[in-house]
């Protein structure tokens, strides 16, 4: 009967009519909020992510770095230039330099223009002079020395120094270079020279320990392509480093910030989905009569379902387009708001978010609206005669399967972090069931309070109990909405605070290494005299790992290239009786009471990279002697705590016979930077490393992430409010009729409104209680499991939840029913 063009015309007309009649307002709003929230977040995180990556790239001074122990072939530079990338070269090696009679070991770093391609050099005219960023490198014939180097030589700028067979003039103090890094190999104080001078120094000889680097930077996709190309061409001894290989502190901070942002978008998706589900449910319920009528007039089942699908598709399409536009505009606003932190020259966003918007709209509608519309399509035509005939429910849990499948697919596509998605989904699932169950109990319990008040009270509470199932659905929706709002406002702040507090203002900013055992007491005293809190000194023993379970590590192959590198380089061992608070045992036991063998605790990531298991035996060469130990525990370490930490930790006593030096970290307040210089004069063998630059980089990443989360929060808040709106709307029709009836029977407007207020406030209070419990639990789980942060249960949460629930739900419920109640009852009853 029905030709496709006819059916689509009619479906479109009905959709437009529904839109005009306001039937789709909640559904469309929920969809629009979801899409615009997600696209705005995606656009913004895309750009901020790029900005953060750029910032992180500073610690490489490039986007990509090729490292080798041999001179790097010019072919790489040629092909990089052909790919439109900038190329710079560096070479570094240790060498003794002379200034008059003084001499010291320095890390020579020869650099070529346009080094650094990410980040900036900072210099001063002389020691303790004003620090300013510069956009150049030392001219040939010149050298820039770090303050530590100058202190060791006892000279200042203007001095002529000898580097190998070359004389150079010290023209500036090198206060900061972006790729300072934080490895023991980088410890000698830096002398920066021009790459062109390198050969003239005569330091590059066969067998000399030169680290050659070629640095690349440019457009993101070009860098990615070039990286893939390089990976296939690498010669032995050549290694590629990108931002993932940068400082563990920054990496850890970036990972966490990524999780915060992802969490915010995930919550927006969940909320929008709930709102869409509720709105679709109401839409489907209101349109059963229409479907019955259409079938009665001869529309076939497939026709009806086809129309619904077409309507959904049109909704998804317009939602995706409009939402993406709003998201794009909003993102510009957000970027403008954040310009001080992320800079005005944010990279322009990619187009992926638009695709994301479309995917979001389609998946949310397919997962959360389609089952209801499908069921609506099955309304029996007999409903035109018997109004109580509802469509048969969908079997085999189809609505649940659809919803969960849509969410899983969308979330996985969205965040690409399986652990996070699973955690959230599991959490959401448990929350849903728990809320439902608790809601049922609360609704039942509520009927006990009916006799406690006046008529409005009785009517209000009776409505909650009588509407049983709807009340529970509303309770779950409100509870979920409120829970997320609480999570976003209170728990989020607590988490962010905890995170930022994990890096307190007085986080260690100086690292002291190479302290001899006989110097430890004197050093502590020296610092105390200058009002600096003495550091907790930790022993360090240099060793080389030789065997894992009797296998020679030099002969072993490791799946993880990083593992191979770790296995073959010198290791730093330490020992401790008890762990620092930034270490946590995740497998095994720290030390046995009566060990049969030497015990070693290994850091989890290190263990994974080397494929170490509990019970494995490790053998080390320490100063020519062999020491073996069995792995008895694995630990996680907060690398961004800025404290000395070790991959391998021994039980006290084992390493006593071997020569050890000590290391420690301390906080040097601003204005006490001269303490370092004094310290280096008093304890010449001790090396102090300034962590301020790295620290501020980590703080910067944290601040940016926090701000982005705040901005994203606005959208999530909107999504939460849409859920509340949808929940209020869901019983509006019924309420309309009831109020009209009550008023017809002589109840005053005030009394009806009081009844409605009692009902909504009761539901709000109950959902608030549920929300507080849920938010506390979710906050605790998120903090401890996902972000590895401390979590403290707050009383405020328990007060704010129920009060906010009562006010928010009560007021919005009353606002939504206000018009319903003020309608003349006769109109309502006539149209019923």
């Amino acid at each position: 009967m029905s030709q496709p063009n006819h059916s689509s015309r009619l479906a479109m007309r009905l959709l437009l009519r529904d839109w005009k009649a306001g039937e789709l307002t909640v559904l469309a709003t929920a969809l629009l909020v979801a899409v615009s929230a997600l696209t705005a977040v995606a656009f913004l995180t895309d750009r901020v992510g790029q900005a953060v990556e750029l910032r992180a790239a500073e610690s490489l001074a490039a986007d990509l770095r090729l490292a080798s122990t041999q001179v790097i072939s010019e072919d790489y530079a040629t092909s990089a230039a052909a790919a439109g990338l900038l190329v710079a070269r560096t070479a570094s090696m240790p060498s003794v330099i002379f200034a008059g009679n003084a001499n010291t070991l320095a890390g020579i770093r020869a650099v070529s223009d346009p080094y650094p391609m990410r980040g900036q050099l900072k210099t001063s005219e002389q020691l303790l002079g004003e620090i300013t960023p510069v956009d150049e490198i030392p001219e040939p014939g010149e050298a820039w020395a770090s303050p530590r180097l100058l202190a060791r030589l006892g000279v200042d700028t203007g001095t002529v120094i000898e580097v190998g067979s070359l004389q150079l003039q010290l023209t500036r103090v090198l206060e900061h270079r972006p790729d300072e890094g934080f490895r023991f190999a980088d410890l000698a104080p830096t002398l920066m020279i021009n790459y062109a001078d390198l050969e003239a120094t005569g330091l590059v000889q066969p067998g000399s320990r030169v680290s050659w680097r070629m640095l690349f930077a440019g457009d993101r996709s070009a860098v990615q392509q070039f990286k893939q190309q390089l990976n296939t061409q690498l010669a032995s001894g050549e290694r590629l480093e990108d931002i993932n290989d940068t400082n563990p502190q920054i990496r850890s901070a970036m990972e966490r910030s990524g999780r915060f942002l992802n969490l915010s978008s995930l919550i927006s998706v969940l909320l929008a989905a709930v709102a869409v589900a509720m709105a679709a449910r109401r839409y489907a319920q209101r349109h059963r009569d229409r479907i019955a009528l259409m079938k009665c007039m001869g529309a076939s089942q497939s026709y009806v379902i086809r129309s619904s699908l077409l309507q959904l598709f049109m909704l998804a399409l317009s939602g995706a387009l409009l939402g993406s536009l709003i998201g794009f505009a909003a993102q510009h606003g957000l970027a403008w708001l954040m310009r001080d932190l992320i800079g005005e020259n944010l990279p322009s966003p990619g187009y992926e978010p638009v695709l994301l918007g479309a995917m979001t709209a389609i998946s949310i509608l397919a997962g959360f609206a389609l089952p209801d519309l499908w069921q609506m399509g099955r309304t029996p035509p007999m409903r035109v005669l018997r109004h109580d005939l509802d469509p048969p429910p969908l079997r085999y849990g189809i609505p649940w399967i659809a919803a969960i499948a849509a969410l899983v697919l969308l979330l996985l596509w969205l965040v690409r972090d399986t652990k996070l998605v699973l955690t959230i989904l599991l959490g959401a699932g448990v929350t849903f069931v728990a809320l439902g169950l608790a809601g049922w109990l609360l609704v039942r319990a509520l009927s006990g309070f009916r006799g406690a008040g006046g008529a409005a009270w009785r009517y209000g509470l009776a409505s909650v109990s009588r509407r049983g199932r709807e009340s529970i659905v509303q309770l779950v929706a409100f509870g979920l909405g409120l829970m997320v709002l609480l999570l976003l406002t209170i728990v989020r702040n607590e988490l962010l605070d905890n995170w930022q507090q994990s890096l307190p203002d007085n986080a260690p900013n100086q690292f002291l290494i190479n302290i001899q055992t006989h110097e430890t007491d004197a050093l502590q005293e020296f610092l105390q005299q200058r009002g600096v809190q003495a550091p907790d000194l930790v022993p360090l023993v240099r060793a080389r790992m030789t065997h894992i379970n009797d296998a020679d590590v030099t002969q072993m192959t490791f799946e993880d290239p990083e593992g191979e590198e770790w296995a073959r380089r010198d290791s730093n061992l330490s020992w401790r009786e008890t762990l620092q608070e930034d270490n946590k045992i995740v497998a095994g036991k720290l030390w046995s009471d009566s060990p049969e063998q030497n015990e070693v605790s290994v850091e989890l990531g290190f263990a994974n990279e080397l494929g170490l298991k509990l019970g494995d035996e490790l053998r080390f060469d320490i100063a020519g002697e062999t020491v073996s130990a069995r792995v008895t525990s694995k630990r996680t370490v907060e690398w961004d705590s800025f404290r000395p930490n070790f991959f391998m930790l021994f039980a006290p006593g084992v390493l006593d016979p071997y020569p050890a030096s000590w290391i420690g970290s301390l906080y040097l307040p601003e204005g006490k930077s001269n303490v370092t210089l004094e310290l280096m004069r008093e304890f010449p063998s001790v090396t102090a490393i300034d962590l301020d630059a790295t620290l501020s980089q980590v703080r910067d990443v944290m601040d940016k992430a926090a701000l982005a989360v705040q901005a994203v929060f606005v959208f999530t808040l909107l999504a939460g409010l849409t859920v509340l709106w949808a929940a209020v709307q869901s019983t509006r029709d019924e309420r309309r009729f009831e109020s009209a009836l009550l008023r017809t029977f002589g109840a005053s407007r005030k009394r009806v409104l009081s009844g409605v207020a009692v009902e909504f406030m009761a539901i709000g209070l109950l959902s608030g209680v549920l929300a507080s419990s849920g938010a506390s639990l979710a906050g605790y789980l998120l903090a401890t499991r996902l972000f590895e942060l401390e979590y403290q249960f707050s009383l405020g949460l328990w007060l704010i939840g129920p009060i906010a629930g009562m006010l928010l739900v009560g007021l919005s419920g009353m606002a939504a029913t206000w018009r319903v109640i003020t309608h003349a009852p006769v109109n309502v009853l006539r149209s019923a």
């Binding site: 009665c296 035109v384 109004h387």
Partner: protein
């Protein structure tokens, strides 16, 4: 009357009706005493009845166990007849109507509509048959609130993919005297007007049979009478068969035959009461 009954008049090609005239024509019918048997013989004999039911039963499950709401109903309705099914609430009238129109399936028994056995068709097959031959008028009007009067009347035409639905719908609205209100939404119309729109919607597809379920149930007496006059007038004009479910005996009395129902069964014999 007898001559015009089967003279199929295309809806909308007649002159706009005058309600007074309809009232005048209808009044003597109501006053006439029921006469058993006679008029069916006067009607030109047609070979196939438009509607025929045989041993129609419907059982439902209730908390007290299986419940028979329609029990062994047989009936036969010829082309152009007007039939009333009367009975108290819960007598099974609406159930019977639903089964006769193919809106529901019987537990046992058969129904033939225009020669096609409804009970062998699936839901889509029954829907297709309804699209071609059946019109409905309901107690609660069942207009789609988001569509205008014109669009409501267009709906069955569009479902049947009829050409120029707007034009036919407009003519149908003119026939019921509501052309001027065609852009109004249902909530802007009175009860009587809504039912007149519903009547236009029912006749616009030129159905061979029209089912009316308590068409005056939601209307006051005067409006109800006007609506019924219109219904009978159009029915006569278009020669449609009318099956009317009501508990209003006055209304039923305007039909040629009356089936009485009680407890899911017909009472007082198969042909019930027939009147002119």
């Amino acid at each position: 009357m007898a001559e015009t009954r089967h003279q199929i008049t295309r809806l909308g090609t007649t002159n706009p009706i005058l309600e007074d005239q309809v009232m005048n024509e209808a009044t003597p019918l109501i006053d006439s005493p029921p006469v058993l048997g006679a008029p069916v013989l006067k009607t030109p004999v047609l070979k196939t009845p438009v509607l025929r039911a045989l041993g129609l039963s419907k059982q439902v499950t209730s908390p007290e166990g299986p419940l028979t709401i329609l029990d062994q109903a047989d009936l036969q309705i010829e082309h152009g007849e007007t039939i009333a099914i009367v009975g108290a609430s819960g007598a099974g009238k609406s159930t019977l109507l639903g089964l006769l129109a193919g809106l529901d399936v019987p537990s046992s028994g058969q129904v033939w509509l225009d020669g096609t056995e409804l009970t062998t068709l699936d839901e889509d097959g029954r829907a297709a048959l309804r699209a071609d031959r059946v019109g409905f008028v309901f107690q609660s009007f069942h207009l789609i609130p988001s569509l205008t009067a014109l669009e409501n009347v267009m709906l069955p035409l569009e479902l049947a993919a009829a050409p120029q639905p707007a034009q036919s719908a407009r003519e149908a609205l003119r026939t019921v005297g509501l052309e001027a209100r065609r852009r109004h939404y249902p909530h802007q119309l009175s009860g009587g007007e809504k039912q007149r729109v519903a009547i236009a919607r029912a006749f616009v597809v030129q159905p061979s049979i029209l089912f009316a379920d308590e068409p005056t149930g939601n209307l006051d007496q005067k409006t109800g009478e006007q609506v019924v006059d219109l219904l009978f007038h159009l029915n006569r004009e278009s020669g449609t068969t009318l099956v009317l479910v009501t508990h209003d005996l006055n209304l039923a009395a305007r039909c040629q035959r009356i089936y009485y129902m009680e407890g899911g069964r017909f009472v007082a014999g198969p042909n019930q009461v027939t009147k002119v």
